[in-house]
Amino acid sequence: MSSADATMESPGHPGHPEAGKAREAFRAVTRDVAWVAEAPRPHKAWLAALGVALIMLAVGLYSIYVLVTTGVGVWGNSNTVDWAWDITNFVWWIGIGHAGTLISAVLYLTRQTWRVSINRSAEAMTIFAVMCAGLFPLLHTGRPWLAWWMIPHPNDMQMWPQFRSPLMWDVFAVTTYMLTSILFWYMGMVPDLATFRDRCAAKGDKLRAIIYGSLSLGWRGSARQWHRYERAYLILAGLATPLVFSVHSVVSFDFATSQLPGWHTTIFPPYFVAGAIFSGFAMVFTLLIPARHLFNLKHIIKDEHLEAACKIMLGTGMMVGLAYATEFFIAWYSGNLFENFAFINRAFGPFWWAYFLMVGCNVLVPQAFWFKKIRRSPMIIFVLCILVNVGMWFERFVIIATSLARSFLPAQWSYYTPTRYDVGLFVGTLGLFFTLFLLFFRYAPVIAISEVKGAMPEAHAGKKH
């Protein structure tokens, strides 16, 4: 090198022990997250899971093919029960998505630092769940290729959307939610994608370096960039918080603004939001408990984090239980014959089994979380989370199908049975969800590396105060 170069190492500054430890800790986080994406061969369990998910997805695609080429008549929906599995699944999936936003935004605003280990995968789950949710109303329209009519645009038909309809509110709420979730997720991922880029470049993996490099937009981690980035992240969290509450409120308006007994109630928005968070947390841990085991992430997604989530499930589960009780009380207190009947029928009518499955899974099961021993054993949490998912699915089914099957005119009453295409499509969305999640887990930074580092005690190393 030329003598003009002032490049130098500082002599007599070997780095103090505290610094060495801090750097090692940061490097360990990077390595532990990146190895999942960098492993030359995917894990066998991962491959097996992907295979199952793809088969489920194929079932779903076949069901969609039959549905689109034949018509919605292939479903079990009838003139009486005209909303059934499709809308049940829509509400269920949307609700699952809400936990992701709650974890990433609400817990961020309330400074719950434990969120950093799970927020990335929870946000990914939100996006994939909303994708699955969006399929159902789209296909229920019968002619999904005309869905763009719902977007207000000047057209030859001189037709504008009917903005006073809750179904139109749904379109706007879900679209906004989807876009916000994607942008929030992606923005959070950019610094970590830059980490991946630099690791790939250092190893000489040019193709991946270009892909991760393009996705990380040339992020340099400069203080001026971080300054604006953090501001934007905080504001996005602030915007996403009211958004997540509005989305499920709007979804509940689909029912609450109608005059059907069992639907026509003002309790719906908070009741739906609590249920959404409840089911979303259950789904996050249905996914993360096996994943953290599979990819050696137990020291990042810690047992304490599972415990905190159990407490949230306990709380929201009881809110849901309170809502069930309130519905019955109001039905009795209103003195309205139809309201009375709707709720007695819900519990003791032809769908009694669904009702008690719902109460069992949503009200009784979470009571187990009172015990610390259960909150500390991932296997039991995993099983209980699946039960909660089942219970929350039945909650939506009970609200939708039992109310419709026994509405005002007894001559109209009927029973609802799903067809194989109803089941096939639901299985297909589960397949889509798991496929996307598995791909995400293999190729993206599954844990918010920079946020984890920022939340570590080492992040304050060397500071004088």
Partner: protein, 430 residues
């Protein structure tokens, strides 16, 4: 410090060709976030402005230490959100209350409560877009390349390294003094970063530019097709990507059909049969024909079923003005709206002058023949049998006779007690 972060000055830079190009800046590495913070404060106090700190996560306190001004992003986002609210309300008002008011269960076309959810969602949406895109634009990202990326140390910024970089364009920058300042602030390593000597390497590679241009052009193709379709005509049926209910398993009239011997889907009347109620045996009423020893001839009178009175004339006037006047004109002189319009556009549309005495074809035509002309058409005029009942056609014949008389009348035809104050207008010209 581990080995991979220390550099032997002797071999340094050889692989990067750093000495060759112009100096871009100086990078200094610090051990901990705390030391970076202190160094940033010193660099700021020394009066530097074109410098930045680089870290794997946001180091708290660095904004203040570097003297970074608060970003204007929140203000932009507020403006964006407010635009979203107004835009959402305006959209709903314009669509549902102004451009196409729509009665839904008698509810008002414009009622704020029903419009709140969408206004709220559009507020959030535009605010989110502003924060996301605004943040990247203010951060001048995406940026394909930065000179610091040439430095090996810099590649650890996203992992575990804490760096401070001062750019050579800073007014206080000095190739000798600046590195010393950074070192004095506790740097474990200070390196100069040079630009690549080859200016071409600082530009986007040609193939990337070509790719962007090509993909942009490709993306415009659908719009070009749509634009062409809007300005051109085609006799081909439109593409049916989704058939909807456009093709149904049924026969329409005049379509071929294999089932019958004649290969037609139309089933006409059988030869030698008459449909019930369609015998129409009275030739005078139904055809305007009279039979005598001389043979068949047009009747000159009216069928006896019809009572000739003012009511029938008025009925004839009413039908005439609907079906005949568009071509023949209200006065029967053959200059109705259609010939006038065609003449105005430079074409020719001939309609007979029904009342012309100089060429009295229509005047001398027997009633029966006039009736037949209305029924079956004449020259380019089509028949009106499908639109007008037999009685109405006779009423029109009667009205045409009245027109012929009135249009060629003189003062003598007016009863004497109605003549006072009356003047004959000049005969209208064609």
């Amino acid at each position: 410090m581990t080995d991979d972060h220390t550099h032997d000055p002797a071999d340094h830079g050889a692989g990067y060709g750093q000495e060759a190009g112009p100096l871009y800046g100086v990078l200094a590495e610090y051990d901990t976030p705390g030391e970076l913070l202190e160094a940033a404060r010193k660099v700021r106090d020394a009066g530097y402005t074109e410098f930045d700190c680089y870290s794997p996560f946001p180091v708290h306190g660095l904004d203040e230490a570097m003297g970074i001004k608060r970003t204007i992003l929140p203000i932009l986002i507020f403006v964006g959100g407010f635009t979203g609210t107004c835009g959402g309300l305006l959209l709903q008002w314009w669509c549902n209350a102004y451009n196409w008011p729509w009665n839904i269960s008698g509810k008002p076309a414009w009622s704020i409560p029903a419009n709140v959810p969408i206004a709220f969602e559009s507020t959030i949406l535009i605010a989110v877009f502003t924060s996301f895109f605004g943040m990247w634009i203010l951060n001048k990202l995406p940026q394909a390349w930065h000179p610091f990326f040439r430095n090996e140390r810099f590649n650890h910024v996203t992992d575990d390294a804490f760096l401070l970089g001062i750019e050579a364009r800073d007014q206080r920058f000095d190739a000798e003094v600046t590195p010393k300042l950074l070192e004095a602030a506790g740097a474990i390593g200070v390196e100069k970063v040079h630009l690549d000597p080859d200016p071409a390497s600082r530009h986007m590679p040609k193939w990337i530019t070509a790719f962007i241009v090509a993909s942009t052009a490709f993306a415009l193709i659908p719009f070009a097709i749509a634009a062409k379709a809007r300005t051109s005509h085609s006799t081909e049926p439109h593409l049916h990507i989704f058939p909807d209910m456009d093709f149904q398993p049924k026969y329409k009239s005049d379509q071929p059909m294999d089932l019958f011997g004649d290969g037609r889907s139309n089933r006409g009347e059988l030869v030698g049969t008459v449909a019930r109620g369609s015998l129409n045996a009275d030739d005078v009423f139904y055809r305007g024909l009279e039979h005598s020893e001389a043979g068949e001839q047009w009747t000159t009178g009216f069928p006896r079923q019809l009572e000739i009175n003012e009511q029938l004339v008025k009925r004839g006037k009413n039908r005439f003005e609907i079906y005949c006047a568009p071509c023949h004109g209200y006065d029967g002189r053959g200059m109705g709206a259609v010939p006038q319009r065609v003449a105005a556009t430079g074409g020719v549309w001939l309609a007979r002058n029904l009342v012309d005495v100089s060429n009295p074809v229509s005047i001398t035509m027997p009633n029966g023949q006039l009736f037949n002309t209305i029924s079956n058409g004449y020259n380019t005029m089509m028949g009106y049998a499908a639109q007008l009942s037999h009685a109405d056609r006779w009423a029109i014949v009667l009205y045409v006779r009245a027109l012929q008389r009135s249009q060629n009348a003189s003062l003598d035809d007016v009863p004497p007690d109605h003549r006072s104050g009356m003047q004959m207008p000049e005969a209208p010209t064609r």
